[in-house]
């Protein structure tokens, strides 16, 4: 595909459950970013990858959140023991390399009930 793809587009889960959110970046993009956005707020940085490694994970709110990018392309954001406060839109972006134009997916709306 031509753009960044995120699946699922919507996810409703019960409190305490585990969820995985997937991001397919643009082919060839080495940098991949995860953000979380609540209503009326700007995107909040979570983590970014350069290749397979997490270059900066300082935005992950706690140890329930984890992300991987094992082959340097697709990334998965994993949230354990979900809480209602985790409800938000999770955005993924990729760029050819860091400091170049970043392209965003349409996001996954996570609702924890």
């Amino acid at each position: 595909g031509a753009g960044v793809s995120q699946t699922p587009s919507n996810k409703v889960t019960e409190k305490g459950k585990y969820v995985e959110l997937r991001c397919d970046p643009i082919s060839g993009h080495t940098a991949l970013y995860w953000y979380r956005q609540s209503l009326g707020q700007g995107p909040e940085f979570l983590i970014y990858f350069q290749g397979t490694g997490a270059a900066d994970d300082s935005g992950l709110p706690n140890d329930r959140f984890f992300a991987v990018r094992p082959e340097g392309s697709v990334s998965t954001l994993k949230i354990q023991r979900t809480e209602r406060g985790d409800s938000a839109v999770y955005l993924c972006a990729s760029s050819l390399e860091t400091t170049t134009e970043a392209f965003f997916g349409q996001g996954t709306r996570l609702t924890v009930v």
Partner: protein
Amino acid sequence: SQQGEEDPQALSIQEGENATMNCSYKTSINNLQWYRQNSGRGLVHLILIRSNEREKHSGRLRVTLDTSKKSSSLLITASRAADTASYFCAQWSSWGKLQFGAGTQVVVTP
């Protein structure tokens, strides 16, 4: 925490008028980008200005950057109803982290 702050938080104008919004940031940057987000979720990249540039144009958009004041502005000329959206500035830090401000909500009425 967010790197930048946009001002104003909200802006309401009529079609044909110009819209100006400002962005301030805290640390040194490699470049600064402006994005648009319509109601919905995707952010659309508008323009990138490098730290050694002072002004850049793209269609009806004009972006300025003042690194001494750590600020940038986005001007939309001859606004249209379709320009109604939230606008965000985002800064690349030298170590590769892209951080966003809280955004400016722009409403353009016909």
